[in-house]
Amino acid sequence: MLGDYSLSDLGSIFVMQGFAGLILFSVFLLMALGLAIIFGQMGVINMAHGEFMILGAYMTYLTSKLFETYLPALFPGYFFVAMIVAFLAAALLGAMVEWALISRLYKRPLDTMLATWGLSLILQQLYRSIFGAREVGVELPPWMLGSWQITSTIEVPINGMFVMALTAVITAGVALLIYKSRLGRQVRAVVQNRVMAGAVGIDTQKVDRATFALGCGIAGIAGSAFTMVGSTGPTAGQLYIVDSFLVVVFGGAQSLIGTIASAFTISQSRSTLEFFTSGSMAQVATLIGVVVILMLRPQGLFATKVRR
C-alpha cells in the first residue's frame, strides 16, 4: 500500500504515526494507573473503575459549566481546576466505597468482583438519573483544540500532547509516592505481609482506604483528561475497562514498571497494526498476542515476588 506515495509523504506519516502510538500509550497508561494501584497493590478487582473515570469526566463537565457561567474570564484555565475537582470527587467516593463495601470483602476476592460490578451498574444508573441518558458535550478552552503544525505536512494534536504530559507527571508522582514516601512504604509493607505490617504498628485499614482512594482519584483525573478525546455519557466507562485490565494483567499485577511496559507494548502494536491492517483486525491481533504471551508467562511481563 505504500508504493504509490512520495518519500517525504511517507516520512511525515511515519512521524505522525509515531506520535499516534505515543498518544495511545499515554491514554492506556493513564487509564490503567489507577487500576494498577488498586489491583496491583491491594489485589482488589475493581469492576467499577470505568465509572470512577466517568465521575471525573462529569466533574469536568460541571466545572466547565460553572466557569462558563460565573468566571468566563478564567475559562481557558478551567481544565486544571477541573482535574483537581475530578481527583477529589473520585477519591472521596473511593474512600466511601472502600469503607462501605470493599473493606468487608477483603477475604473474598470473587465477591469483591461481583460487588464492584454491581456498584458500576448503580453508578451508571445514577449518572443517567442525574445527567440524563444522552451524552454531554464538554466544551474545551480554545487553546486545547486543533493541532500543532511542526512542518507543512506534520501535524500533532495538541490535546494528545497534553495527555502525554499529564501522564508523565502523574506516573512520576505515583512512582515517587510508592517508592519514596512514607505512605508508599506502608502500602508496600501491607502488600507484602499484612499481619506483620499490622504487628509493627501500621494501621492497615487506613492504608487500604488511602490506597483505594488514591487509585480512584487517579481514575478520576484520567476520566477528566479523556473528555478531550472521548465521550462523556453514563455508560462511557465501559469503553475503557477492558483495555485497562488488559494493560494491568499483561504487565504483571504488582509492578509499576510492568504496567508502563505493557501499556507501551500494547499501544505500539495496536497503533502499528491499525495502520497496516484495520481497526477491528488490529484489536484481534493484539489480543491474540497478549493471550499467547500470558500463556507462556502467566504472571505477566514483570512480576515482583510476593510473600503470601
Binding site: R134, E139, V229, S231, G233, Q238, S271
Partner: protein, 414 residues
Amino acid sequence: MTTKSGDARNLSRRQMLSALAATPALGFIGRPALAASAANTTGLAVTDSEVTVGILHSVTGTMAISETGSVEAEKLAIEQINSIGGVLGRKIKFVQEDGASDWPTFAEKAKKLLVNDKCAAVFGCWTSASRKAVLPVFEQYNGMLYCPTFYEGLEQSKNVIYTGQEATQQIIAGLNWVTKQKGAKSFYLLGSDYIWPRTSNKIARKHIENVLKTKVVGEEYFPLGHTQFNSVINKIKLTKPDVIYAIIVGGSNVAFYKQLKAAGIDLSKQTLLTISVTEDEIDGIGGENIAGAYACMKYFQSLDNANNKGFVSAFQKKWGDKTVIGDVTQAAYLGPWLWKLTVEKAGSFDIDKVAAASPGVEFKGAPEGYVRIHENHHLWSKTRVGRARADGQYEVIYETAELVQPDPFPKGYQ
C-alpha cells in the same frame, strides 16, 4: 394487567349487549363511529372509549441515550391525536415497557404487550438487533410494530411498518449529491463493526464503483466503543480521499470527531459525509467539533415548513426548549399518526386489516413534509443533505426533487 384489560373488554361487551337491547336510546347519548365489536373482531384491548397501544424502547442501559427521543416523540404524537378526538373516536391509552438495551428482554416485553395487554399497535425498537429479536413474537402473536430507525434493509414483514429509511434511500441520494456538487472521485469508507454500517458501506461501495465509476481508497471498521482513531486519521491524511464516508455510532462518534479536529483535518476543506450523526449525537460530540460535516438523512430539525415548525415547538413545549430532535425522533413521531390514519382507512383495529390497508396511506402532516406507505411497508420519503453548524443544528442544503422509493432488497447492491 391481563385481568384488568380482560374485565374492561367483557364489561364493554356487556354494555354493548345492553346497548343493543336499547337501540333507540343510542341516538340520544351519542356513540363512537363504529361499535367496539365491529372495529375489533380479534380481542384487542379496544373499548367504546379507549384503545390500548404499547411503547417499547430502552429507557435504561446503553441504548437509552438514543431511544429516549423516540419515546418522547411517540408520547407527544399520542397526546396530540387524543386532543383531536383519538382513533375511530377512541382515546389512545399507552402501556410503556422498558427493553433495557437487552434483546431477550425486548422479546419478552413484546410478548407481554401483545398477549397480556392486547395492544392494538406497538411503537418501539431502535436497533436492528432488538427489532430482529421481537419480529418472531410479532409474527407469531400477530401484532403491529412501528419501528422508527433508519436501518440496513433486507427485511420486510406484514407485521412491521418501517418509518425510518432503509439503506438505499439514505445512501444513494447522498453519494450522487456529493459526486455532482463536490466532484468527488475518491471515497474512504469508515464504520463501526456491526451489521448496519457494514451493509450500508457495501451498498455505498457498489454504487461508487459500479454506478458512479469512481473509486474507494479505503474501507475500515472499528469495534463498537473504539475510542482511538489517530492511526486511521493518519491513513486518511496519506490517501487524501475527496470524501470521508463515516458510519460510526455511539461513544466512538464523539472520539472520532474530536480526534479528527485535533489532528488538523478541517471539515470546511475536507468533505465528510455521514449517515449516522443526527442532532442528538451532535449534542455529545459538540457542535464546534463537527461543524462543516455533511449528513444525509430524511429529516433535520431545521427543516423549513409549517408542519415542522408546529412539531418542533410542540415538542420543545412538552419536553423542554433545549431538546434537540434528530431524524429517528421524527420517524418515531410518524408511527402513531400513520397507525391512526391506517386504522381509520381500514375502519377496524384488526391487525390483518390494518396491515392490508397500510400501503398507500399518506400523512400530509409529517414534519418531514409528506410520507406515504409503500407496498413493502417502508415509507416513500425525500432524502436530504444537511451541513452541520457550530450551534449543533444542520443547515439543509439539498433535498431530492421526488420522494425516494424504499427498496429493502436492492438488486445489484447485495
